[in-house]
């Protein structure tokens, strides 16, 4: 190996290490001092967050609008696709994900969560009139659509375990960047069912009930909450205090009924799937 080549390799490695070494997010004191908090929201996750003619809408935006009025600092918002949100929070680029992120064991390792803002148990949706699928066990061997890096993907081991009890097995899995594409493929018969949370699927059925039909719940009861970088307790308690206030004054249920078309009695602290306490 020539000397120059070795130098270039070392240089490249040094640049990389400085890139990937984790930076910590701003604490609440730092946020107050600099005068703004940066939150990330999604753009294609109805009814929680979506965009119509360039305007952000949905349940989380309604909550965010109230937070903007009450917060003692400016709230800056970045709207981006799901794939960039949690990595952005974990790396400290955003102070919080004001998005309905499902609380999972995997995510709890790198992120802290606020109190739940919605139930988010997974369920499946099938084509209307597809008689091959009558119950959960009929998903055995079927082609299923899930979202890359989403909770629908992470629920698959639970589904596999459930199918095993009736002698079934997991069929082919197709991963999508956006659920609209999975729904399209379901209508196109490339998929037999799509797995997503019960709230989003209910919204789908209310819009496209002629094409799709809601099936049973899949896996353990789970919740969606806002996510904060692990250990950033100041920001987590700030958001929790805000959410507790909305719960107390009735805004919480009102907005749920308005946007999610269903209101939940939610616990006051984050819970892992199956109502287990956070570790």
């Amino acid at each position: 190996m020539s000397n120059r080549f070795r130098t270039t390799i070392c240089l490249a490695a040094a640049i990389f290490v400085s890139f990937i070494s984790s930076a910590s997010a701003a604490s609440l004191e730092e946020i107050k001092k600099r005068g703004y908090m940066v939150v990330a929201t999604e753009d294609d996750y109805p009814p929680f967050e979506y965009v119509v003619n360039g305007k952000p809408m949905g349940y989380d935006h309604a909550l965010l609008a109230i937070l903007r009025k009450s917060a003692p600092f400016e709230i800056r918002q970045e709207i981006l696709p799901w794939q960039g949100i949690l990595p952005g929070v974990a790396s400290g680029k955003y102070d919080a994900a004001v998005s309905a992120a499902v609380i999972t064991d995997e995510r709890a390792k790198s992120l802290d969560f606020t109190m739940p803002i919605s139930e988010s148990t997974m369920a499946y949706v099938k084509r209307k009139g597809d008689d091959r699928i009558k119950a959960l066990k009929d998903l055995s061997g079927k082609t299923l659509g899930v979202q890359q890096g989403g909770a629908s993907f992470q629920v698959l081991p639970d589904l596999e375990a459930a199918l095993k009890t009736t002698g079934g097995k997991l069929g082919q899995i197709a991963q999508y960047g956006a659920f609209s594409e999975a729904y399209q493929d379901l209508a196109n018969k490339r998929l037999d069912a799509v797995i997503h949370n019960i709230v989003s699927l209910s919204t789908l059925i209310s819009e496209k009930g002629a094409t799709y039909e809601l099936g049973e719940r899949v896996g353990k009861k789970s919740y969606a909450a806002w996510a904060v970088q692990k250990g950033n307790n100041g920001v987590t308690s700030f958001l929790n205090a805000f959410l507790a206030e909305q719960k107390k004054n009735g805004n919480f249920k009102k907005l749920q009924a308005e946007h999610l078309k269903i209101a939940f009695d939610l616990p006051d602290q984050p819970l892992l799937p199956g109502d287990r306490p956070m570790k």
Partner: protein
């Protein structure tokens, strides 16, 4: 169903695609030339730095590169908003590919001409601008235009950091309408029109700039 409102919404996304790709092309072509000059020049350190840059950037998928710029640069003290970060990522990406196009043209340039220019007393710099460049840009133009079309088609990668360009618009629309196909069909037509304009523009430019070479 496709509607006028949908088309207008998509055209807003197309505007971002045009601005971002356009700036990346405008900056990336000369930057690629500078890199190619570095790679074929005489300073050994600059040669290997340019080679490393070009090889690395061409090896990294555009979407990974965009994430690296957006999430990585703040560590080096440069925190860019999504739009400038997207433009920077595409500039740096297309410059690496343009570097290889320019380099191939420089390498294939008949050395006799350069030797003749040097024998007439031109410095390397003067010989480059007077003799080499006027010939290599014409040889490189078709390949450069090809790279520009590839860049426009790679531009949806910037959606990952929240820049809503044409393809991301189709996602946003279909998330609400639950129908993926209508916005995609419209987007494909818009992309086709944009690339046809780009190629026609390049032809026109070449025609104008080579007028003096044609005999009437």
């Amino acid at each position: 169903m496709p509607s006028l409102a949908m088309l207008l919404d998509l055209l807003r996304g197309a505007g971002i695609t045009v601005i971002v790709s356009g700036l990346a092309i405008l900056a990336g072509v000369p930057l690629g030339l500078a890199l190619a000059a570095g790679r074929t020049g005489q300073a050994p350190l600059i040669r290997s730095a340019c080679a490393l840059y070009s090889s690395f950037v061409r090896a990294v998928p555009v979407v990974t590169f965009v994430l690296l710029i957006y999430f990585g640069l703040p560590r080096l003290g440069l925190a860019l908003n999504p739009l400038p970060a997207a433009i920077l990522a595409l500039v740096l990406n297309t410059a690496a590919f343009n570097c290889e196009i320019w380099r191939a043209a420089i390498r294939d340039f008949p050395s006799g001409q350069l030797e003749a220019a040097r024998a007439l007393g031109m410095t390397r710099r003067v010989a480059f601008w007077r003799v080499v460049f006027p010939q290599i840009w014409r040889a490189s133009l078709p390949t450069l235009v090809n790279e520009m079309t590839l860049l426009v088609k790679a531009s949806p990668a910037i959606a990952v950091i929240g820049v809503v360009e044409l393809t991301r618009k189709t996602r946003q629309i279909s998330a609400v309408t639950y129908e993926a196909l209508p916005p995609l069909v419209l987007a494909a037509i818009i992309y086709g029109a944009l690339l046809a304009l780009l190629v026609a523009g390049a032809r026109w430019l070449e025609h104008r700039l080579t007028k003096h070479l044609r005999t009437a």
